[in-house]
């Protein structure tokens, strides 16, 4: 952890209780076995491993955790949660930490990933589903191949007749409405 002086521990660990109550996960029960980090595909690239993220929360090292690259490099693959012997949902905690970090307006340690995420949402907002050109403009590190062949993203229904409906974008206005309502709800609750 990027701390050069000794860790000064406070008798009350607000960060731990905050994370625990918001995720419903019992982080105290982590016994630091490292199985999460051992199986994490991106741990090698993280500044601190998922196990150390858990330990950091146990110690209340809020800044180190919320400013870490680890929370942004986590790809939500669920491997850690699947195997944790203490049945901690680490992936869920990582996800929450990203939210907390953003909510505090911290500059993300992995800027590109965070930017990509918001570019992505921007797309959904505009078109209801992904539009490769739009994303390419918004996110300039685009590899053209990736979205080259994308026509639509079908959620398909089995049964009934095969009836292909041309792509519509009615969804996008719905997304904007949903987003507006989410914002409203969140404003009320905070």
């Amino acid at each position: 952890m990027p701390e050069t002086s000794a860790i000064v521990l406070e008798p009350t660990n607000n960060f731990l209780s905050f994370v625990q109550s918001h995720t419903g996960e019992n982080i105290t029960s982590c016994y630091q076995c490292g199985k999460c980090s051992a199986g994490c595909p991106t741990a090698y690239a993280m500044d601190i491993t998922p196990r150390q993220v858990m330990r950091g929360i146990q110690l209340g090292l809020k800044d180190e955790i919320l400013d870490s690259s680890a929370i942004w490099l986590c790809v939500s693959c669920q491997t850690c949660s699947l195997r944790c012997p203490r049945e901690i949902d680490i992936a869920k905690i990582m996800e929450s930490l990203r939210l907390f970090s953003q909510a505090e307006g911290r500059p993300p340690a992995q800027r590109e990933i965070a930017v990509f995420y918001s570019a992505f949402l921007q797309q959904v907002r505009l078109f209801g589903r992904l539009h490769e050109i739009g994303l390419a403009i918004t996110y300039n590190v685009l590899s053209m191949h990736f979205f080259n062949n994308i026509k639509r993203l079908p959620a398909l229904l089995t049964r009934g007749k095969l009836k292909l409906v041309p792509q519509r974008t009615k969804g996008s206005s719905e997304v904007r409405q949903i987003e507006a309502r989410v914002k409203e709800l969140e404003r009320k609750s905070s």
């Binding site: 076995c33 490292g34 980090s37 051992a38 012997p85 203490r86």
Partner: protein, 665 residues
């Protein structure tokens, strides 16, 4: 009319300093039925006890209340005191005015008022006490031991040496248990067979021990001192009187079956002894796999292709010991005590999909490694990879597999695997100096005499690299295995390419441990480990008198602990069997035959199966309580709607009178 005597104790200033003792004595004098009241400085002292005895005689008292310390402290002492004065010892009630009064209240007035209440309640209760006689029942001076591992062997030898008869029931064809599968043993590295075999032979030769191998306990009836047990003796198809154990048959048998003893790494014939030093050293025929038995089965229906009629064993046996007329047989035996030593099995690691789920031949369990290292094992003591028979050079050990893992429902520590992994690391290096061992651990638990030194040896002298972290995944890559872990001390993922991975699989109780427990009416926990009467103070006793437990069926432990445990259980059994009769506590429940309607609500709740059905002379089926089994919990009393059961010493009338005296004043 009763003549009750009340004796109030000062306990120096312990009681007297807070409670106004003279005031309590004075109040007692005016309580109904109280004929005499007095105070004592130290009631439990010889002087104090003498004054009670004198008062009983002089005042012709027929019931006594002593207001003093907790009954848990001196009830038995004072029972003897009143008995010495000729009273029935159960006509005594103790009023706890020290622990429950003077020691917890400081206000003298409140404490005195409370002490008077407590005495009044005791007086009301004692008036309703009856004379009770502890019963004497006879006992069978024989012990049954279920399971012939090292624990059962030790217990059998100790009980037998104390002069009592022992029957040792073992489900396998040989005794020896898991220890017989081990190569060397920590922390001294003695050869397991070398220290175990002499004990096994002692069991076979001891005049007081009857060995019933290939047998199982079917049913248990009765109670302490008087158990009746049905034992199933499975057909061995070999006449042990004629058989000399010459081995001709098992060498000739053409059938090959994976050997249970070698963890499936080797094979055995259909007529077999599990291992060379087996006791008894005589074979059994595995009916399910014997060719001729299959042929006989086939004859019944003639469906499918006809199997060969082998019977080679019969042909070669020089003593004509093969006896196909044998049938499974149930015998009934009587015992005074039972010791359960059914041991353990290792956790089945195939539930760990991330470790290959049992698919990779070179991911083996530690017990399999023991067989590979054993000179008597399938590879003659050479450690060879199961996949291709090559000598592994990079060996990864993973500790805590199936232990300390909520995900697989095994949160407990198996206690021996840190140590045996260290043993394996040391021994692999002894087998082959080029072997590099890697040990993934969470903690190295080496509590025990010479254990830490031993575990250090693995790290200091063999160059084994200990890595702190639990492995997340193993996968096959070409001929080798890729192991993904984290070194949690440096905080980085590590990858190792291994030739062999050894999983230190945890301990769990043998199959059917729960069924055995149910038959014996003893408790077991969620993992089926048997529950002792008290984890610290009564480690080998159970809640059911006369039933004892020892060894790994109670919880994970190593050989030294198993031997100590087996010996401890034996000592308890010997203490029990050395009595000529057993005294039963008379504070049991009793059924009023006139009130009982035969609903058996009582029977349903009784935790000790103490309630039987009984037919009265007028042909009604009613409940009857076996006083030897009843432990006086009183559950039945509350369950009985018509109020036909009552618990001696705590009758419904007594409890009610305590309440009424208290509330009405």
């Amino acid at each position: 009319m009763s003549r009750i005597g009340v004796f109030v104790c000062h306990c120096g200033t312990n009681i007297g300093g807070v409670v106004n003792v003279p005031e309590v004595v004075e109040a007692a004098r005016h309580m109904p039925l109280v004929a005499y009241a007095d105070a004592n400085k130290y009631t439990c002292s010889e002087v104090g006890q003498a004054s009670i005895r004198d008062a009983i005689r002089e005042q012709r008292l027929d019931r006594v209340v002593i207001a003093s310390c907790s009954p848990r402290m001196h009830e038995n002492t004072f029972r003897r005191t009143v008995a010495a004065a000729g009273l029935n010892p159960y006509l005594l009630e103790i009023s706890n005015i020290r622990e429950h009064c003077s020691w917890v209240h400081s206000d003298s007035k409140d404490a005195t008022a409370k002490a008077i209440d407590l005495v009044r309640m005791a007086v009301a209760k004692v008036a309703r006490h009856e004379s009770l006689l502890p019963k004497q029942v006879g006992l069978t001076k024989r012990a049954l031991i279920i399971g012939g591992g090292i624990t059962g062997i030790q217990a059998a030898l100790d009980i037998a040496s104390a002069g009592h008869e022992v029957v040792l029931v073992e489900k396998e064809p040989s005794i020896g248990g898991r220890m017989s599968q081990l190569d060397k043993t920590f922390p001294t590295l003695d050869c397991s067979a070398c220290i175990l075999t002499p004990k096994m032979v002692d069991v076979a030769q001891h005049p007081n021990i009857t060995l019933l191998t290939y047998s199982e306990v079917k049913e248990v009836r009765g109670f302490v001192g008087n158990f009746e047990v049905d034992i199933l003796k499975k057909a061995k198809m070999v006449d042990y009187v004629k058989c000399t154990g010459c081995g001709t048959c098992w060498q000739a048998c053409p059938e090959r079956i994976p050997s249970e003893f070698d963890m499936g790494l080797g094979s055995r014939p259909a007529i077999y002894i599990p291992f060379a030093q087996a006791v008894p050293n005589k074979p059994v025929i595995d009916i399910a796999n014997c060719r001729y038995e299959k042929y006989l089965k086939w004859k019944e229906t003639e469906e499918g292709p006809e199997p060969p009629q082998c019977r080679i064993c019969e042909g070669v046996c020089p003593t004509e010991a093969i006896d196909r007329s044998q049938k499974d047989e149930i015998i009934t035996e009587k015992f005074g005590a039972v010791v359960v030593t059914t041991g353990f099995k290792t956790f089945d690691h195939s539930v760990y999909g991330e470790y290959g789920g049992g698919r990779y031949p070179d991911v083996i369990s530690s017990l399999e490694l023991e067989r590979l290292m054993s000179a008597a094992g399938p590879t003659g003591g050479e450690v060879l990879r199961p996949s291709d028979g090559s000598h592994p050079k990079n060996v990864v050990f993973i500790q805590c597999v199936g232990s300390r893992d909520d995900k697989v429902g095994r949160p407990y520590c198996s206690k021996v695997c840190c140590m045996y992994t260290a043993k394996h690391a040391i021994m692999l290096r002894e087998h082959d100096h080029e072997v590099q061992c890697y040990v993934f651990y969470i903690d190295v638990r080496a509590g025990g005499k010479d254990f830490e030194e031993f575990a250090r040896r693995a790290q200091d002298e063999t160059g084994a690299l200990y890595l702190r972290g639990r492995v997340s995944q193993i996968y096959q890559e070409g001929k080798n295995l890729k192991v993904l872990g984290e070194d949690s001390l440096i905080g980085r993922p590590v990858e190792i390419e291994a030739d062999l991975v050894v999983l230190a699989t945890g301990m769990e109780p043998s199959d059917n441990a729960d069924l055995i427990a149910q038959k014996l009416n003893i408790s077991y926990n969620t993992y089926n480990f048997l529950i002792e009467a008290h984890p610290k103070l009564r480690p080998v006793e159970t809640q059911t008198d006369g039933i004892f437990v020892a060894g790994t069926c109670v919880g994970p432990r190593d050989i030294p602990d198993c031997v100590a445990h087996g010996g401890a259980a034996a000592a308890k059994v010997v203490a029990l069997l050395s009595q000529d009769s057993l005294t039963t506590d008379p504070l049991t429940s009793i059924v009023d035959p006139m009130k009982c309607v035969g609903c058996f609500a009582c029977k349903e709740v009784c935790p000790f199966n103490a309630i039987d059905e009984q037919v009265t002379r007028d042909k009604r089926t009613i409940a009857s309580i076996n006083e030897s089994l009843c432990k006086g919990c009183g559950l039945c009393v509350v369950a009985c709607r018509p109020g036909a059961v009552n618990l001696r010493g705590f009758t419904s009338q007594q409890l009610l009178s305590e309440v009424l005296t208290l509330v009405r004043g």
